[in-house]
Symmetry: C2
Subunit: 636 residues, 2 copies
Amino acid sequence: MRRSIATVSLSGMLREKLQAAAAARFDGVEIFENDLLQFPGSPRDVRRIAEDLGLSIDMFQPFRDFDGVTPAQLLRNLDRAERKFDVMQELGAPLILVCTNAQSDASGDVEILAEQMHQLAERAGRRGLRVGYEALAWAPQINRFGQAWQVVQRANHPHLGIVLDSFHTLALRDDPLPIAQIPGDKIFYVQLADAPWVKLDVLSHSRHYRCFPGQGEFEMAKFTAAVLDAGYTGPLSLEIFNDEFRAAPARATAADAMRSLLWLEEQMRDVASLKTGKSHGESRRVSLFDPPPPPVLRGWSFVEFAVDAGSAARLAQFLQAIGFRRIGKHRSKAVDLYGQGEVRVVLNLEEDSFARAYFEAHGVSACATALATDDALAALSRAEALGCTRVAGRVGQNELTIPAVRAPDGSLLYFFDVHAGGEHGFEADFIIDNAPSAATAFGEGARIDHLVQVLPTGQVEPWTLFYRAVLGLKPGSSTVMHDPYGIIRNRVMESSGREVRYALNVSERENTSTARTVSQFGGAGVQQIAISVRDLVAAMRRLKAQGASLLAVPGNYYDDLAAKYDLDPALLASMRELGIMYDRDADGEFFQAYTTPFDGRFFFSMIERCGNYQQYGIANAPVHLGALAQWRDAAA
Amino acid sequence: MRRSIATVSLSGMLREKLQAAAAARFDGVEIFENDLLQFPGSPRDVRRIAEDLGLSIDMFQPFRDFDGVTPAQLLRNLDRAERKFDVMQELGAPLILVCTNAQSDASGDVEILAEQMHQLAERAGRRGLRVGYEALAWAPQINRFGQAWQVVQRANHPHLGIVLDSFHTLALRDDPLPIAQIPGDKIFYVQLADAPWVKLDVLSHSRHYRCFPGQGEFEMAKFTAAVLDAGYTGPLSLEIFNDEFRAAPARATAADAMRSLLWLEEQMRDVASLKTGKSHGESRRVSLFDPPPPPVLRGWSFVEFAVDAGSAARLAQFLQAIGFRRIGKHRSKAVDLYGQGEVRVVLNLEEDSFARAYFEAHGVSACATALATDDALAALSRAEALGCTRVAGRVGQNELTIPAVRAPDGSLLYFFDVHAGGEHGFEADFIIDNAPSAATAFGEGARIDHLVQVLPTGQVEPWTLFYRAVLGLKPGSSTVMHDPYGIIRNRVMESSGREVRYALNVSERENTSTARTVSQFGGAGVQQIAISVRDLVAAMRRLKAQGASLLAVPGNYYDDLAAKYDLDPALLASMRELGIMYDRDADGEFFQAYTTPFDGRFFFSMIERCGNYQQYGIANAPVHLGALAQWRDAAA
């Protein structure tokens, strides 16, 4: 389908917005009026710039509150429309968007509205322009597409049609299915916006919280399916009012916008048409994006750290103190492999490498993670189809080529093919001189449960879409956590079988643990590697015995646990001794403990999930974040 | 009255919170449970720290959802309460706060609730502790103080009373007046929180947007008057959940907290008691803070810029290009005086001065502003009484001493006494060698209409309270403005006769005009000096003729004006030629134009208010901010 974007969705001045939309391969744009008013050239100049970039100008929205007015006001509004038609002809925009009147004194009489819209359409028609009528969710009278469609039907003018916007329909929890009954050629335009569910009036919701499809919580697929069922074949356009996007680099936002449409089109392929019974993917009416399916994920093969010689020695010591052993050395590169249970950590010291460049920019940090999957090449192809950049490293003779793409923060995401010898098949590239033993601190079967990433402000939406579209993960819970120095927002992304889980943390305030780590990394990064173990008390005893640096938990926390839960006193005593925290839900129990951070940057956590507990112990966040702050103060 | 603060209102770890509360002269604190859980010492240690700081621990709130439960659950809850009573006795906290049950399955039966609360009070009484029952605004059953009071009455236990929180009452728009009918000694505690009106569910409103009295929009005086009428004589305490405060320096927040209570107490003095008819100020029951009244303001005497020799020459050139003349030189200091109409600008080059220190820290910027007032010493006394720091400068022989206090950003606010020779009496300190002429660009009668300040994130609330409490200004409109690179929030503060008006701008995104200027200043600062002139077209013609650098406004803006308004074509042509923007409301018309920024830092605007237009032309903000961005790009 044709893909468009409203200029209001992107940050900056009009020229850079158009350039960004073109670079992301959009076909057209909607011009938001403020962008034109700010532009220091004529509408003709805008048209020329767009044409040079290969962009059509699909729609223009130059005023509000046109309809349902007094006859005298209507004449003034029609005069105003003629001036705006002049501008549209200069712009080369064929369609004007008229939203329903949001004033409290507007008429809701379908006859009057139809008559007034007919007059506007008649004038537009004389110039070869078309008028699209859209129900605003917060308009007092006409706020559902069904009502707007009544007006359009009654007006019955070839130059008048309806414009649909998923936000206005879904935010009111209006049923999109009747859209399928509207003749497709009377739908003049479709705008798509997703949003999280926030408990806010619909106008504020719309003005600040819209996001690209796949970044929010709306039923975008259901809405879009109804549009396709109607027989609509025009552009799918993104009109996103979002405070973050207004401030983010336009090119990155435009690339995300395109990824969101591609992802949504893919969802459509499997949805059956209500009319034909066939899936929309089989339909010949519109072409829908068709990438390789999301990969089947089996967990992480390894996490790779960028280090130099000095930090490598210290990090090795840190790892050994929590039970890792150096188990091998790369055949051709200055790369060491550490292992414990099923967990593999790679320390990359290679001088002329991506890792070194990453180290120079970010300091000691995880420069790459490797996901184990059934078909790494298909995963790579999907990622590339969805706009990811493929990265090729140097490969020595007879060494494995592990496909990789650049993640949104510039780190690498490897896809490791488990057919090449299970999750640890990459070890073929290493001289294994010290096999991992089961008798290490974490114990047998220890594996990475989840990674916690810290993100700069505004990066949650891009990462959500990246994980959702490229890896097929689903968003889980969204929570607010209280650091002593400000709030942290947390969003979880999980694969269907929970083999891979990420927690994305973001904080706008500069002194929280999350913000400090973002600042130390100079951007996003992995702050926590959570290892699930089979017996946490035993593991913590071993860690303590071998002198690991563990995060102390205040005694008051355990007094509160004792008041709150009927825990076995011996277990509680062990937990108090070992700094183990506790949570419980209807499905099971959860135990967690933390190391202190390495260089104040990142740390490991050890967790034990009992029963079917699938959460993350967020209730303990204030105590954990307080303990981190306390540790920082003591270390300073 | 006793003044208390909940530790949740302040940022950081418990020890720094207690230190900040003591430094701001609070009498007591409420301990928020997470603060205790994070604390790496015993409750006894907390008590000792508080005692050493002279703080009492007034209240503790250790759990939720106590009441309205099944008999079996009640037993568990009572057990839990006993554990918490242990903690309270260690803390030395005499009062436990029990909020009404927020679970959907909680009982709302007053008999059951009264019986359960009686049991809790009985157990508390055995230990000499008291129980305060508070209606949570989002509890499904008991969410109004009237309901909670019913339960307390029915329970009829000497150790059970009611706790009132202004947020829970006012956020639901519940009438506070019936509070006056509750016996004062059954009100065990009063928590005060103000908040802006946001269209959000009450729970989110409460958790993120509370603020100190005077920083929000709630009727705090009405609520507090009802509490006093009840005969309550206990502490007024601040329990503020605010995302900004969680991240702000605890000491500054605590000082603001105290200022807010002092200001609120002052408001109470003039409110008449419903019971006695006398004002609360005359009552002997409680003592209420009694500072000198807010000053009568007459506008600004001068704005003082911190400069060094090089920037002084450039700034002088900038000022002269827009019609200012150098009219004098300070008798004893390296300070030049510029004037035009009623506007005075001082350039301070003195080496060993506050201005020079300010210049070193902030670069060329307004380091001081002087307000003209009827009684400068009273204004100063009020400011000091409300916690401002008095600043004394060096004064030469026979020179005026102008009283000054430090504003929240560290700049100086002078109070200039108009009895010492009108608004410009300070010129006595200058050798006037070049009297101001009426024939300058701005024209006769030009005066400062308002100042626009840019503030770092989190600084709007402190400034709002500073202006409201210290100067007696009132908050006006709050608006969102759209910069091409992100949103800017704008709040207006005005004196009663609008002699003095400030617009406070804040932006969380780093590339907006506001955020860039904050970054250049290294903090808050004056970004715009708005001059009201009598004939803007004439003034702009003169400015253009003498080569002033004026901000260009795109032609598309005027095409839109022509479509929108029925403006005289000749006037519109002049506006287009001169870069004059336009706004209109029911009360009148507004014209505004801008200079380009000096060093990209600050600029002047020239405005003309017609009829009774009292707004600020915010509708033009996107075009102005776009023009600023365009100018920046061109200058780069």
